[in-house]
């Protein structure tokens, strides 16, 4: 995705990470975008009605929490590491800890282990209190384009 890497270079020049989300149709549709106005790279999923998975509680759909944790990991890798390619997700395991109410969800990611070809990333998402995460995830990404299997 050279478009995203070009946008990454432009976003770095301006210091505005939010521009990264504009290049990804799914991120725009979901209203998931990175922000770095606190000095820490965070990813926010703005609440909107189509995120709801349970109308009685009400609660945000678990699938969307997995999706935003995955996006948070990708934005973190793009912004915080010297990546030469767009990371390709291999797998992700999401733990659901609490039900997420009809409010914005914020996520932060960190690299647990950086290898030459593979990186292991941890991400957590919360709403009102960072000490009470609604979901956490571990994911693996391939980070070297020429090492990816031809199908990826």
């Amino acid at each position: 995705m050279s478009g995203l890497l070009e946008r990454l270079a432009a976003a770095r020049k301006e210091g505005d990470v939010a521009k990264l989300a504009d290049a990804i149709p799914y991120a725009r549709w979901m209203q998931i975008a990175p922000e770095n106005n606190t000095g820490e790279l965070l990813t926010r999923m703005r609440f909107h009605d189509t995120l709801v998975g349970n109308t009685f509680l009400p609660a945000i759909h678990g699938g969307t929490l997995g999706a935003m944790l995955e996006m948070a990991a990708i934005f973190h890798l793009l912004w915080e590491t010297e990546t030469e390619t767009v990371p390709k997700i291999v797998n992700i395991t999401v733990d659901y800890l609490r039900s997420a109410g009809p409010r914005d969800v914020i996520a932060a990611a960190k690299v647990t282990k950086q290898g030459r070809r593979m990186v292991n990333v941890f991400a957590e998402a919360w709403q009102d209190d960072r000490a009470k995460p609604v979901a956490t995830a571990n994911a693996h990404f391939l980070i070297k384009a020429d090492d990816a299997p031809p199908s990826l």
């Binding site: 149709p25 759909h61 997995g66 999706a67 291999v90 659901y96 039900s99």
Partner: protein, 164 residues
């Protein structure tokens, strides 16, 4: 044995599950998830390719997120087919292996199986593919906590899905 009444039963069952697992769940409805098969311990859904679900605009390949939401929903529906009576439950964890990118423009089918259910936990696995389950796009394993708080948003399974 006439197949007429069985087909009518099947269509009615699909309509019930379509209502409860897609139309009544805003995110599933927004994705346009279509329930294509349901029986005891098994559920299948279909997701049409759309531009706004794309992760990479240069290739048109779907993002991981829509597949995650679909596999979560499909595994949950497989759990619901195993319940003797309507009761709320929640996803405990979900693992997804992305084994091959989805082909741009093609619909994705998810097939989930609930292979074990206990008093507290239900165990599921699922595959997503383009029509050939032997050539998957993604594989998933999900566990669900049963008897969680909240109101059941599910139809009464004992009536909706006959035991074999």
């Amino acid at each position: 044995m006439s197949s007429g009444p069985n087909l009518a039963d099947r269509d009615q069952r699909l309509a019930v599950f379509q209502q409860w697992f897609s139309d009544a769940i805003p995110h599933n409805k927004a994705l346009g998830l279509k329930v294509v098969a349901v029986r005891r311990g098994f559920a299948a859904m279909q997701l049409e390719w759309r531009e706004e679900l794309v992760g990479n605009p240069e290739t048109g390949v779907l993002a991981g997120g829509p597949l995650t939401a679909m596999l979560d929903g499909c595994c949950g529906m497989a759990v619901a087919t195993m319940l003797k009576e309507a009761a709320p439950f929640a996803t405990l964890d979900l693992r997804i292996d992305y084994v091959k990118p989805a082909t741009p423009g093609q619909a994705v089918i998810a097939e989930a199986e609930c292979y074990r259910i206990t008093r507290s936990v239900a165990f599921t696995r699922a595959f997503a593919h383009h029509g050939d389950a032997k050539d998957p796009i993604a594989a998933a394993a999900g566990t669900f906590m049963l008897g969680t708080k909240g109101q059941a948003t599910r139809p009464h399974m004992a009536g909706a899905v006959a035991k074999p």
